[in-house]
């Protein structure tokens, strides 16, 4: 479970390198750059979109709880050219703000940002919430270990999310 309400004091200013990383990940998602986005992930990566802010993914259903293998499948489906719910793909732009470092433990850093996302397909849909990232510093740079998306409307009905959120 992720405690979303801890007011963990920011460990100083968020290093520019980490902000750049989050912005880069957002840009790849916005532009449907599937392979590049997939290549961000660590082998133990988890992409999680829960159905509430305090859910346990082991006992409760999530919208998305992808391990690295399923992240690969998701991208393969998007790249097949037959993922109808992304044909044509969404046009998207998202804004990230309120960056925070939540914790730092050896090579692993937990960072967070609020986001708003304008997604257009038939109509424009607004998505908003909070991103939580677990990043790992490696010899080859930063890898993405976990991305959690806390949608503000995750308990209510939501529209299709076949794009990368």
């Amino acid at each position: 479970m992720t405690d979303t309400r801890t007011e963990t004091a920011s460990v100083g200013t968020v290093p520019a390198e980490l902000v750049d990383y989050m912005v880069h990940e957002a840009r790849l998602a916005d532009e449907n750059r599937y392979e590049e986005w997939e290549s961000l992930w660590a082998d133990d990566g988890i992409y999680w979109i829960p159905t509430g802010d305090d859910k346990d993914p082991e006992t409760q259903v999530s919208f998305v709880f992808d391990n690295r293998h399923r992240i690969g499948s998701r991208i393969a489906q998007l790249r097949s050219g037959r993922r109808h719910s992304q044909t044509p793909p969404s046009k998207m732009r998202r804004q990230l703000a309120n960056f925070e470092v939540l914790s730092e433990d050896g090579d692993v850093i937990e960072v967070a940002a609020n986001f708003s996302l304008f997604e257009h397909r038939y109509a424009t849909t607004i998505w908003a919430g909070r991103y939580l990232y677990l990043l790992r510093r490696t010899a080859d740079g930063i890898t993405l270990v976990k991305k959690t998306v806390l949608l503000i409307n995750n308990e209510g009905p939501i529209k299709t999310i076949a794009f990368i959120l």
């Binding site: 998305v64 489906q77 109808h84 719910s85």
Partner: protein
């Protein structure tokens, strides 16, 4: 308090449904006309049995969930007498929505507008500043309890309600679909299921009937789900094979199904319906099943697997998921999906949750594309020519089996025809009252 339907509020009684629903086609306006939608809410949702909750969601006295029948907001609550009641979520003073939480536990609901309180069995308890009325409090209390569904019934843990009391016997209503609930529950060595893993809620810009039709459609998978089968993993059965023994069946009463059991029996393999896992993955489960049923019957149960059955008008037993729809408006439907936990089969639970997320819901590898089809359908329906939606496939392949009209050509539109013929009956019954 009893529920009275205002028959006057609707105009679509004048429509001649016999002209809009033919044997092999239906008129497009049935999916787009708001007046027809209003009549459906009255004659189908409010006058019939409708699935509202599962007992496992409201196990303890005081537990409740918020739901709808048609567009009417409800509280489904278990009283301290353990009885499940379906109460209209409307304060009897000036109509404020009484309960705001999706789920919870409460013995009392307090209205936030002027502070009236109601117990979870619907009785009015307290009226603030009670001196202001001509009547005694006792009179007010007798008169102003919450409105309550006239009939509430349970089968296999599934709770159904009927607002008006005209729906007859629940088991009779379930008819040939009753066996599907039995088949599901039988997969549990404890004879029960649990939906505590919760619901995904998916907002569809489509008519509720469009959302239902695709659930028992054997014609679409190769096209709609091609991206999954080609890029990720093959379907559990070979949809392109002429040898495939998958049936579509009109169970009567609007209920229908896609039946994989004959195909599974042909292959005589267990768990085809569950990623073809070997028995060794779930040893305790198999042991418990064999202790209960013996080896032969257990083998049969594990070959046949869960039902893929739609229960009119809003419930879908989607193999290891339960789904249901809430129609919000003529072109807007909320689809709910929950993973099923089989009681006594804890080894399977985590995998079922992961399987549900993979296939179903707004981000699912399957359902996201089914929803896309529904929304495109809805757009297409606004073109006024041709006026008809065709359900003409496979008449010649149909035979009448004990459980209903059956076609072993899974591309037959037998299931949808069953829904529509029943729909016509319901929509014409009340017209001439």
């Amino acid at each position: 308090m009893t529920i009275r339907l205002e028959t006057e509020r609707l105009v679509a009684d004048d429509v001649d449904y016999d002209q809009l629903i033919l044997r092999d086609r239906v008129h497009g306006s049935l999916y787009t006309d708001p007046a027809i939608f209003d009549k459906e809410m009255r004659d189908i949702y409010e006058n019939q049995w409708v699935f509202v909750a599962h007992e496992s969601e409201i196990k303890e006295p005081g537990d409740y969930v918020r739901r709808r029948i048609g567009t009417q907001p409800l509280i489904v609550a278990r009283g301290k007498d353990l009885k499940v009641r379906v109460l209209l979520n409307r304060c009897t003073h000036r109509a404020n929505m009484l309960c705001q939480s999706d789920a919870g536990n409460a013995t009392l609901f307090r209205c936030s507008f002027h502070g009236w309180t109601f117990s979870n069995d619907g009785r009015l308890q307290g009226v603030s500043f009670r001196g202001g009325y001509e009547q005694e409090l006792s009179e007010l209390r007798a008169e102003l309890g919450l409105a309550e569904a006239a009939q509430v019934g349970t089968y296999g843990g599934f709770v159904f309600a009927n607002l008006t009391g005209d729906a007859g016997d629940l088991e009779e209503y379930l008819g040939n679909a009753k066996g599907a609930i039995d088949r599901l529950v039988q997969l549990s060595p404890e004879g029960g299921i649990d939906l505590s893993a919760g619901w995904m809620k998916h907002d569809n810009n489509a008519n509720w009937k469009v959302v239902n039709e695709v659930q028992v459609d054997g014609y679409h998978p190769l096209f709609v789900h091609e991206s999954l089968y080609k890029a990720v993993k093959p379907a559990k059965v070979d949809y392109s094979s002429d040898e495939l023994r998958v049936a579509v069946r009109d169970l009567g009463g609007g209920h229908s199904e896609v039946d994989y059991s004959r195909e599974y029996q042909n292959q005589d393999r267990e768990f085809i319906w569950f990623s073809s896992i070997p028995r060794t993955r779930v040893p305790n489960y198999v042991e418990a099943m064999e202790a209960l049923h013996g080896p032969e019957k257990t083998h049969e149960i594990l070959v046949d697997g869960p039902p893929h059955t739609f229960i009119w008008p809003n419930l879908f037993l989607a193999e290891m998921q339960v789904m249901f729809v809430e129609p919000l408006a003529v072109e807007r439907t909320i689809q709910y999906t929950a993973p099923i936990k089989l009681l006594g089969a804890e080894e399977m639970s985590a995998r079922i949750i992961r399987q549900t997320e993979g296939a179903m819901g707004p981000a699912g590898f399957l359902i996201a594309d089914d929803a896309e089809m529904g929304e495109r359908n809805q757009i297409g329906l606004h073109a006024q020519e041709p006026e008809w939606v065709l359900f003409a496939r496979g008449f010649e392949s149909e035979t009448v089996e004990e459980r209903g009209i059956t076609s072993y050509d899974r591309t037959s539109e037998t299931s949808q025809r069953g829904m529509w013929q029943h729909y016509r009956t319901l929509m014409t019954e009340k017209t001439n009252d």
